[in-house]
Subunit: 355 residues, 2 copies
């Protein structure tokens, strides 16, 4: 982080910092917002210069297309502070690339790399003191783009807003999760937008998730929309299944988000000598493995929750309980990835970026 970046991007600082009101020892996830945000407007066919301004409300015409046609995409990443107060990002370029993959599918103009990367670094420099240091906490970073252009006509907007806002956050889930393997509802279609981080993919999950919660589960595991035969992913996590000593995860496709945690876990596991199989995982295979005792672990993997072990999965009215292991993959893989993220270990993969 050098002075030059701050010179490139205009920064207007708040006169009323809220930081003294925040209890950094009791942070929930994504509900306290830092003092500043990066904003960047797309108008007349071009992305204008990004600026850092005080976190503040956005004013939009009622006909702005975000309200009507769901033209919105986002990313989720974190900034980590180590014991020396140095700040790190984890594979941020992959978030930038994925944002543009999402942009293309949602007919949103792609962003220049420098606007994203330099904008992010400038914002983090300005709000450095908002990055928490308590165990397990981090600064959750939310880059997002939405259609601000006007008109009640179902067609792409002519104006967009790119914003990065941040939220000092504690952990996403407390403890293990109970999941329900979905047999009726679906998250995404073949040829649809499931591989994009598009707003609409999330809203569609809320109702089926509420139904699952009413039955005592925390999360839904999505299956293919055709026959609900294969396990795909969870609400905001990719899914791993350990059968005997092999670690399985579904291949990404146009229905599944290409998670950065997922691909990092695959690489770390391989380096640890674990047999990793990236292939379709049928529900039948998982149920049979649960019955014959070869199913050892299931866990979700994503930026927000890191690794989230599953204690129970429900399917067709039956609950299957996962065993409690001493040397589980979930714990050791979580330690490996968070040690890299928080600069507590070597980074043989070159994933960590110092601000």
């Amino acid at each position: 982080m050098t002075q030059s970046l701050l010179q490139d991007i205009k920064v207007t600082k708040t006169e009323n910092s809220k930081i003294s009101q925040v209890d950094f020892n009791n942070l929930s996830f994504g509900s306290t917002f830092s003092d500043h945000m990066l904003v960047c407007d797309y108008k007349n066919g071009t992305w204008e210069a990004p600026e850092v301004i005080p976190y503040q409300p956005i004013s939009l015409d009622p006909s702005s297309k975000i309200f009507h046609y769901g033209q919105s995409i986002f990313e989720g990443m974190k900034a980590y502070k180590d014991e020396n107060g140095d700040v790190f990002l984890f594979r941020p370029l992959d978030n930038f690339k994925r944002l543009n993959i999402s942009a293309k599918r949602l007919a949103i103009p792609e962003l220049p790399e420098a606007f994203f990367m330099e904008g992010l670094k400038t914002l983090l420099e300005v709000d450095k003191n908002w990055i928490p240091t308590t165990q397990g906490s981090s600064l959750y970073i939310r880059p997002f783009v939405f259609a601000s252009g006007k008109g009640f006509h179902a067609s792409p907007a002519d104006a967009y807003k790119f914003i990065i806002a941040t939220a000092p956050s504690g952990s996403y889930f407390a403890g293990k999760v109970k999941v329900l393997i979905e047999e009726k509802y679906s998250r995404s279609a073949n040829g649809g937008v499931g591989y994009a981080k598009a707003g609409g993919n999330y809203a569609g999950q809320f109702y089926p998730t509420q139904l699952a919660v009413a039955k005592g589960y925390n999360q839904v595991i999505w299956t293919d929309d055709n026959k609900h035969e294969y396990i795909e992913e969870a609400g905001a996590m990719n899914i791993f299944v350990r059968i005997n000593d092999s670690l399985l995860t579904a291949p990404t496709n146009d229905r599944i988000l290409d998670g950065i945690t997922r691909k990092s876990i695959i690489e770390i596991a391989k380096q640890e000598g674990i047999n990793v199989e990236v292939r379709p995982i049928s529900v039948t295979e998982v149920v049979n493995a649960a019955k014959n005792g070869s199913l050892k672990e299931m866990f979700g993997a994503g930026t927000a929750a890191v690794i989230s072990p599953i204690s129970v999965f429900g399917y067709q009215g039956t609950d299957y309980t996962l065993p409690e292991l001493d040397n589980d993959y979930a714990s050791s893989l979580k330690k490996r990835i968070t040690d890299i993220q928080y600069n507590r270990s070597e980074d043989p993969f070159g994933w960590r970026i110092k601000l």
Copy 2:
């Protein structure tokens, strides 16, 4: 429309009407907005009293869930003015019911009927002069609901806004449309949200539609996401196919919007003695009918475009041209439905509601 309604719903009128700036003889679709809007907030577990206020920007926190998770739904309807200046709505209760069907699927709290119906009537009374009378034009009405509640957590919001805004509008499409039968991309999944008027369903169509436009088509005809074997619907229209003298349309299901124009056309056609078949329509059947000359017509049906005749459909690199008929169903059905809507004929079905 009685005075009592205006007494029930608080009305704040604008001091700067824009109506004198509008050229009512040259209206495009959905891009000029009337002076007022209805707003209604959901907070603390309840929908608060709706109000009519001047059309104005909406101010939202950057973490409002509409920006991130696509939690939004809408409706599309029209107000028609007859020669005497009387104002009519077409099956408005069906739009209200569908809005609540969409709300349920998107985990949005359902609206009380009176808020929708009385709110709409009050708004139209206030902006009565915005309803155009030139041939083919009407006041397009856009009720919508979106998540205003805050937080970077993929879960339903705790606050929502219901708004009705209106736009005096000319016709949606000029002339016949060329359509492309989609073989790769999809609009919706089995078990997904395709039957809801959810924002995300529209954004996902923009990119495939852009690709079709680049090839010289106006619209995509969506097919099932599994094998792209069956014709489902178009961007904002249901699809009808005439083979010999039978009129075919796909049954609605969880991937297809239950269009009010579609179901009205089915009833009118039946009353006219046309053989109507509501059943899956395979692409193969349509292509074969085009080849052997039994394919007489194809048209889209929806509130915005009313009935939109198709001149050409493209499939697997071949364009199939529809014949020009003298006594086409599209024209006579369009006349029947618009005559009912604009109070130019009897309404044997009881669809028209006078304000």
